[in-house]
């Protein structure tokens, strides 16, 4: 049975936030410096590309820093000298998972967006001072940013689950696992297509030489079905992460 106490959860999330505060602050300062350099030497020269550069930077920061942070979120649970203290705290598995999910997921997106907006304002002031070029401000509400955030949230759940399931080199193993999965799915898809439509393929090429006579990917008629599919997938991933956490709370055994 899932156990949740708001008072206890408040303490857990506060403790977890304090634990990651220092590396997050150092990374923020480092990325601030990097952003200023990029703005001055890249965006400053090519004003019409500024919008593109800021989105690329935002995406790199969100995905790179966010997924790295997520990958090591449960490092203390796997560390032989830290694990007993962490696991013996009177906290439920759901609270442990929820706290680190929120901190590395939605709250990180919020923090990252606000931090990047601040970087953007300062960076554009500098560009204005040195190059006298006025550029449009970064907006977190563009379709590009929203889609980036959605992709991050999905990748975040996968990385968080990997961080729980893999005891060592969790981030690297998660990436390798995903690459393996994508490769396996591609090979299975290709083999299935060849089996049903042998005339459309040649043995010297991987891709089909003639287009397939049917749509392989399901296309949902209404957008809410897409949303429901993504929400369902995320819910399932969260459940997998929870079950994995329950299993990995036991240090050894079958």
């Amino acid at each position: 049975m899932i156990q949740f106490s708001p008072r206890r959860f408040g303490r857990v999330i506060q403790n977890d936030a304090l634990r990651i505060m220092r590396p997050v602050l150092y990374t923020t300062v480092a990325l601030f410096g990097l952003t200023m350099l990029v703005y001055l030497f890249r965006a400053g020269r090519v004003s019409d590309q500024a919008q593109g550069v800021q989105h690329v930077l935002f995406g790199c920061y969100l995905i790179g820093a966010g997924l790295l942070l997520t990958g090591v979120a449960f490092q203390d649970m796997h560390h032989p000298l830290d694990r007993y203290q962490y696991l013996m705290l009177p906290v439920s598995s759901f609270e442990r998972l929820m706290s680190r999910f929120l901190l590395t997921g939605p709250l990180f997106v919020l923090y990252g967006t606000l931090a990047f907006m601040a970087f953007d304002i300062v960076g554009k002031q500098l560009v204005m001072m040195y190059w006298e070029i006025r550029q449009p401000p970064f907006s977190p509400f563009t379709a590009q940013t929203k889609s980036l955030v959605l992709w991050y949230m999905l990748a975040h759940l996968v990385t968080l689950t990997g961080g729980i399931c893999f005891r060592t080199h969790a981030f690297l193993k998660t990436i390798l696992f995903l690459l393996g999965l994508v490769l396996a799915l591609t090979l299975v898809e290709n083999a299935a297509e060849r089996m049903f439509f042998p005339d459309l393929f040649s043995w010297t090429q991987f891709e089909n030489i003639t287009p397939l006579p049917l749509e392989l990917m399901p296309r949902f008629a209404v957008s809410w079905m897409n949303v429901a599919f993504v929400v369902g997938l995320c819910g399932w991933m969260f459940y997998v992460a929870y079950v994995c956490l329950r299993d990995h709370e036991a240090s050894d055994g079958v």
């Binding site: 007993y84 203290q85 009177p90 906290v91 240090s251 055994g253 079958v254």
Partner: protein, 280 residues
Amino acid sequence: MIDVKNLGFRYSRRGETLFSNLNLHLPAGTICGLLGANGAGKSTLLRLIAGLSFPQSGHCRVLDREPRQRNPAFLAEVFLLPEEFQLPALQPASYARRYGGLYPRFDYPMFHRLLGELQIPHQQKLSTLSQGQKKKFLLAFGLATQARLLILDEPTNGLDIPSKTQFRRLLIDHFDPGRSFLISTHQSYDLQGLIDSVMVLAQGEVLLHETVETLESQLQTTVEQKQPADALYSERSLEGFKVIRRNENGEGSRLDLEMLFGLAITGPAKIRELLRREAA
């Protein structure tokens, strides 16, 4: 307080079975010393009791709950002092503020008093303390949580002689009938005069679990020049032979835990037979 029946555990699917049919019962209000050779499964048993490892078969109940459920109310009542651990780069007071609040009955004045008694520097970061000081700090924290079961795995490793005395005194001062301490150690002399029951673990089972009072009334440890024929167990020493034999005359004798461990390992049947006969 702890009730284990027919417990089975092994480390991996193909690994050797550590426990196949382990049984033990520890009532509330005891300070129990857990003795065993390397690899006997002492730390594993402590982890099973603390809910950090899950048994594959049998039944393990601690404080009327199943440890494997890892219920927060259960975890608030059980404190584990591991053999090896590291502490974060926090000052003692910050650590207590951060983690003490998760324990419903955490006693902050007691914690600060214990830090003073154990001479833990208040301003120093925990990560920079010596291993012995870290152990003393975590012991103070564990006592301040007011947990009903304290599980201590090799607590005296790394402690200097005055600290070992302090350790024994602290446990005695904070012991009450509603609380139990389960202490695993290789250094049996550190438990002398502290524990009220002894458990010896070997070959995946509890070879001996008896109160110190019973053992002292049934067994006698003496030093003799020649090895006596009626000795249950003997060891050569500088003075001659240290001997454990039946306490025929009922004279009080201080239990030598190391000798008792030797007897339990080499002749478990002898000691069981003796205790069974006396009980009958």
